[in-house]
């Protein structure tokens, strides 16, 4: 029976009803009037029970959803508008399994409710972990500590080299060691707000809760965090946060945390509980009876293809930023694992959410292979500007004028001008978009025209070169190494670059995808950052998933599915998957065309960056989708991969990755096209305020968009998971 | 290496201090020599200890070198000079460090000769027709009561005369000077490496330790060569 409740900090009535999967669910009615709320609530329940009775196909689910709209429409005039514009009900494919109860209690309650695996039985289970970054290494180690047998795979030559290692800034945790008013709730609130209200409240709250344990864990592993003279941990404020909650180890926090997780993993490898497979790349996920039960991999040294079975498969394979060719990701980062999982039936959520970092070193030429990030902290003391007139910029680009000779009156400190209260410290997405804007106006300053100044001369005049050197010396050195220019004398040049991808495999509260037995953790899933990630939160999420969430939640699935024999790797499912993998490799090698994998990757990146990068519009996205089809066709007709499959063949590896990126890029564009609003890292030109700021549409787009693959050649299907904000009130971000 | 190195280093200092008595005249040197000989069994303990240490030092050096060769079975193939003008092995390696095994081997050869010359008194090894076995302390050199005149075939030997006669031969002195030079080069790295191995040398003390090792090795060198050179140039001669 449906009932209404009210919460202290929300103006809306909440409806409690039984969801299609039988769980008691609470959902906001978005109504302040109790009677209207009751009407809406009854419809919720009816829809749920209808949905439950039907064995839902996706079309039927759609019908249920549209039925609700139709039924509600004629009956309640006043409610009508709200109902029509409410996001459609969550697809039955996407049961988020968010526990009931107050947000503070959800995780604890859930941990208690989760089924446990008897300690003596844990050793009967096999788990595959793909990836050895923060999430993968910490999960593999923690699972092995619990007693599970783990097989861990990575494409690098050592698990210590995963790209988590390159994170510089730090890791957030709600420790409140600085006594400045931080709390779990505040970190939760900041993360939801920072994610532009496109993340799941319950997940984010859990993330904030376990953040505290992460720091304890890492300190116990011997991670040399920065300390104060008293011996206690030091903190800094990061990414515009109002409190100092970021823990750090010089500019190498990611490295130190990863080495901590790697040491825990190494210990388990030494003990024989984890078997590590390095230089081994996942090429397919194997499903048996609709459940993920194994993978097919290629040994990158010998070219050997092998099948591995397990009771569950965990993907910790990172993000897909390299779809843009140029990004701050490592050369090897790829989408293959999650894309293959998607093609096997796992829903891919929010692929259009990508984070563009504003302070990277600009591209220097066509040879550029990757981009290098400069810490965001530089914006604390550097001032961003470009010349006011394009003609001056042109002179600078041609080398006829030095930036120091541009008079003050001719400089446009555009961030300070447009956002007087935040100035140069506006969030990443805002800073990035503005850089693009001024460069599009022809005011960019490096030879490519894609760069703006980050000028320290005022800071040097104010506090002296020595003070600047003390704060940023290593960054200035790195800048000089790469560009050959001395940033103490000339202003730095920076330009935005792809940095992180918030989208990923759709997962429920247990971090399991819609394919039973297939888990995704870290950057590979979509769950915690919404449409935009806060600085110093990526490390937090990776480790939270690996150390403190997955080891509990995987037990539920394993306990339910039992420890019976792992599926036989000689079974038809495995043999078919291997055959498909072999065919694909043979095909790549047999095309013998003219173009190199890199040239396709570069072209793909250009299409994506221009149409699905910092700002997107309908026509651009549509043209990108058709261009990508053409490019894919050319790829499969004109690719040139020399060498053999039974050897170390880096061209072959790259070709395989690029082929997946080509397919995946289209999915990103589709998702960006579907999301007719601007939120976080996703900016649609059609949906902006007259001043050009992002305009969110909470009425219609407060949902997770998860795509289901429907076979090659068919359009994928969008499923929606409605996002309910019970704790945090949605507001428009403003940095004016 | 370091531990045996410490022992050998101790011997080298003691040996020098003893030998510098040559400047104090024949009596002092011979008295010192006799005292050493009078130690009897203790002298043999010292000799065996020293021999053992030399043996261990060489044995570990050979073992180390072999193991180190094993650690790079396939050597670098390129023979280019890097930009900074060093061979690849010597990115920071000084001459001394690179040549430890060679300087060591030459020193061993010299030590044998030196022993044959003065301890075993092999006749005519120095090329002069004079047998050291016949050098005994003469009555006029006796200075103290318990120091008696030598007899044929018995101690005390006239070490002073032996030393002076021996180093009168230019090539003996030449070989000696070269060997001592090598020894001191060996030591200049050995000392600093030893202190590094033991952790006494670190970034704070590095400058001092390295300088100290070179100064010390140079002092040893000067001390040792002062004896034969003084003899050759007749600052020290037979009375």
């Amino acid at each position: 029976m449906a009932s209404l409740t009210k919460k202290e900090n929300s103006p809306y009535w909440f409806c409690c009803f039984t969801a299609p999967d039988g769980t008691r669910t609470k959902r906001s009615t978005k109504q302040t009037d109790k009677d209207k709320a009751l009407l809406v609530c009854r419809e919720y329940e009816k829809a749920a029970s209808d949905a439950k009775k039907l064995v839902l196909t996706e079309n039927q689910a759609k019908k249920v959803i549209s039925d609700i709209k139709e039924k509600v429409l004629p009956r309640v005039e006043v409610v009508q508008k709200n109902i029509v514009e409410r996001p459609p009900y969550t697809s039955p494919l996407l049961n988020s399994k968010i526990p009931t109860g107050p947000i503070e209690e959800k995780w604890n309650k859930h941990k208690f409710d989760l089924k446990l695996v008897n300690p003596a039985n844990k050793r009967k289970y096999e788990v595959i972990v793909v990836g050895s970054g923060l999430a993968g290494a910490s999960a593999a180690a923690s699972l092995a500590e619990l007693g599970y047998n783990v097989n861990c795979f990575c494409y690098q030559d050592s698990p210590r080299r995963a790209h988590s290692i390159a994170a510089q800034g730090g890791i957030n945790a709600a420790k409140n060691y600085q006594n400045d008013g931080d709390s779990v709730y505040r970190l939760f609130y900041d993360t939801v707000k920072g994610g532009d209200y496109r993340s799941r409240e319950a997940n984010v709250y859990r993330l904030a809760q376990v953040s505290v344990n992460i720091i304890d864990q890492c300190a116990a592993q011997g991670v040399p965090f920065a300390r104060e003279y008293g011996g206690l941990l030091a903190n800094r404020s990061f990414g515009g946060a109002q409190v100092s909650r970021t823990f750090y180890a010089r500019g190498q926090t990611g490295q130190q945390l990863l080495l901590g997780a790697y040491s825990a993993l190494s210990r388990q490898i030494g003990l024989g509980k984890v078997k590590m497979h390095t230089r081994t790349e996942l090429l397919d996920v194997v499903l048996v009876d609709g459940q993920a039960k194994g993978i097919v991999v290629r040994n990158m040294v010998t070219g050997e293809i092998s099948r591995h079975s397990a009771h569950a498969v965990v993907l910790a394979t990172g993000g897909y930023g390299n779809v843009f060719y140029l990004s701050t990701n490592a050369m090897g980062c790829n989408v293959t694992a999650t894309h293959r999982a998607y093609k096997r039936g796992a829903a891919f959520a929010n692929p259009c959410y990508t984070q563009i970092h504003p302070t990277c070193i600009p591209v220097s030429g066509d040879h550029q292979s990757k981009l290098t990030l400069m810490s965001e902290s530089l914006r604390n003391d550097g001032r961003v500007w470009v010349p006011k007139s394009p003609s001056i910029s042109e002179k600078i680009r041609n080398g006829e004028l030095q930036p120091s000779n541009v008079p003050e009156a001719e400089r446009d400190y555009y961030l300070e001008r447009k956002y007087p209260s935040f100035g140069n410290l506006v969030p990443r997405d805002v800073a990035s978009r503005n850089s693009k804007e001024v460069c599009d106006e022809g005011r960019g300053v490096v030879s490519s025209g894609l760069g703006v100044y980050l000028d320290f001369s005022d800071s040097i005049n104010r506090m002296g070169e020595a003070a600047v050197r003390e704060r940023y010396g290593n960054l200035f050195d790195m800048y000089e190494k790469i560009t050959g220019s001395n940033a103490y004398q000339n202003p730095m040049t920076i330009y935005p670059a792809v940095h992180y991808t918030m989208g990923g495999l759709w997962v429920d509260y247990n971090l399991m995808s819609n394919v039973p037995g297939l888990f995704a953790i870290g950057e590979a899933n979509f769950s915690d950052h919404g449409a935009n990630r806060l600085g110093a939160s990526a490390l937090m999420q990776g480790l939270a998933d690996g150390y403190f969430v997955l080891p509990y939640t995987i037990g539920e699935y394993l306990a339910e599915s039992g420890w019976g024999d792992c599926p036989d790797i000689e079974s038809s499912e495995f043999l078919d998957a291997e055959k498909a993998v072999r065919n694909r490799i043979n095909k790549l090698l047999s095309i013998k065309g003219k173009r190199t994998p890199t040239s396709f990757h570069r072209e793909l990146g250009k299409i994506m960056w221009e149409n699905c990068g910092m700002s997107r519009n309908e026509s651009g996205l549509k043209s990108a989708i058709s261009k990508l089809s053409e490019l894919r066709e050319e790829f499969w007709g004109n690719l040139n991969v020399p060498g053999e499959k039974e050897s170390l063949n880096q061209s072959l590896e790259l070709a395989g990755r690029v082929s997946d990126f080509l397919e995946f890029g289209q999915l990103m564009c589709r998702d960006a096209l579907q999301r007719e609003e601007s939120c976080g890292g996703h900016f649609r030109e059609e949906h902006s305020t007259p001043e050009g700021e992002a305009k969110r549409d909470d009425e219609n787009f407060a949902f997770v968009g998860a795509w289901e693959h429907k076979g090659d050649g068919n359009e994928p299907v969008l499923h929606k998971e409605a996002l309910e904000y019970e704790e945090v009130k949605m507001t428009q971000r403003s940095y004016k | 290496m370091a531990i045996t190195g410490v022992g050998l280093f101790g011997f080298i200092i003691a040996h020098l201090l003893g030998n510098l008595l040559v400047f104090a005249g024949p009596a002092a040197l011979n008295e010192y020599a006799k005292k050493l000989h009078d130690l009897g069994p203790l002298l043999w303990v010292a000799r065996l200890g020293l021999l053992g240490m030399v043996g261990l030092h060489i044995w570990s050096a050979i073992k180390l070198t072999a193991a180190n060769k094993q650690a790079r079975e396939v050597p670098y193939k390129s023979d280019v000079l890097p930009v900074d003008g060093h061979r690849r092995d010597d990115i920071a390696v000084k001459f001394a460090a690179r040549t430890m095994i060679f300087s060591g081997l030459i020193i061993v050869a010299f030590a044998f000769y030196h022993l044959a010359h003065y301890t075993w008194k092999v006749p005519q090894i120095n090329g002069i027709h004079d047998d050291f076995e016949t050098y005994y302390v003469q009555a006029d050199m006796v200075t103290s009561a318990n120091f008696t005149e030598g007899e044929q075939g018995k101690n005390p030997v006239d070490v002073y005369r032996m030393v002076v006669t021996g180093f009168k031969v230019p090539w003996v002195t030449g070989f000696y000077v070269i060997s001592v030079a090598l020894l001191c080069i060996h030591l200049s790295h050995g000392l600093s490496a030893m202190l590094q191995t033991l952790g006494i040398k670190n970034k704070n003390t590095e400058k001092w330790v390295d300088k100290g090792a070179v100064i010390f090795a140079t002092l040893l060198f000067l001390g040792y060569i002062s004896i034969p050179l003084s003899i050759i140039f007749e600052f020290v001669k037979l009375k």
Partner: protein
């Protein structure tokens, strides 16, 4: 855009671990001085591909000098000789027009060549697995501030912990010794209070494993420190020697 250079490359080519290998010469024309060294190789590889030849296999991943994947001896010096710089961060403005550049893989018995410039450094992983950790289970730990760490110790531990495990120390050492790598890890863990309980066990296990893996020994030549892209100090080797010596005595092995 920077200046353009024309260079001659002599690159070690080896089809697999069994192959004896050889140098091959390539022309690198119109190399932009703004390129990184690896980007220069990328361009050469693209040209090779277009000629239907197999590109030069070399390791690289993050290309920002932190993952430790890139590994090549450039003109006789691991990582190319710019102080504190990995090969991926070395830029072509360090070279001059007309130069011949010789590129070889790391050479050490413990790092067998797998192909061209790619070597197998799993020996480092095995040393780490023998004891390079603090044994704590996820979750069973005290509050992070319950154990204060003197700032000086934390800073020194961080100096050691910066090691990226690239293996340049081994490549540069005339004895192919891994002492700097092992010393960095041991020093890091023995400098923090959390690492004390296992201190001796760790020192014995890691040093023993290092010897088993076939690395040479330290003769204090200092070339490891000179090429280390993270400029890790030789002093840590002394610390390791003390650590190992004390462990031998305390554990009664000597």
């Amino acid at each position: 855009m920077g200046k353009l250079l024309n260079l001659k490359l002599r690159v070690w080519r080896q089809d697999n671990a069994e192959d004896s290998g050889r140098f091959e010469e390539y022309d690198a024309k119109g190399v932009d001085t703004d390129m990184s060294f690896l980007e220069m190789l990328d361009v050469v590889n693209e040209d090779l591909l277009e000629d239907g030849k197999e590109p030069i296999a070399f390791d690289s991943d993050c290309r920002e000098g932190i993952c430790g994947t890139c590994s090549m001896v450039i003109n006789g010096t691991p990582h190319g000789g710019q102080k504190g710089t990995t090969a991926c961060q070395l830029h072509m403005r360090q070279f001059s027009d007309g130069m011949t550049i010789t590129i070889e893989p790391w050479r050490a018995s413990a790092f067998p060549v797998q192909r061209d410039l790619v070597v197998n450094r799993s020996a480092f992983d095995r040393i780490q697995q023998s004891g390079g950790f603090i044994s704590v289970r996820s979750g069973s730990v005290p509050d992070a501030n319950a154990t204060p760490v003197a700032k000086e110790d934390a800073d020194l531990a961080m100096d050691a912990a910066q090691c990226i495990g690239c293996g340049a120390c081994v490549a540069a050492c005339k004895n192919a010794s891994a002492m700097l790598f092992v010393a960095a890890k041991l020093s890091h863990l023995s400098l923090v209070p959390q690492g004390q309980p296992e201190r001796e066990r760790r020192a014995l296990a890691m040093v023993q494993k290092m010897d088993e893996e076939g690395f040479g020994s330290c003769t204090v030549t200092g070339s490891c420190e000179a090429v280390c892209p993270k400029e890790i100090s030789l002093d840590f080797i002394a610390r390791m020697n003390r650590e190992y010596g004390m462990a031998l005595i305390r554990k009664g092995t000597v």
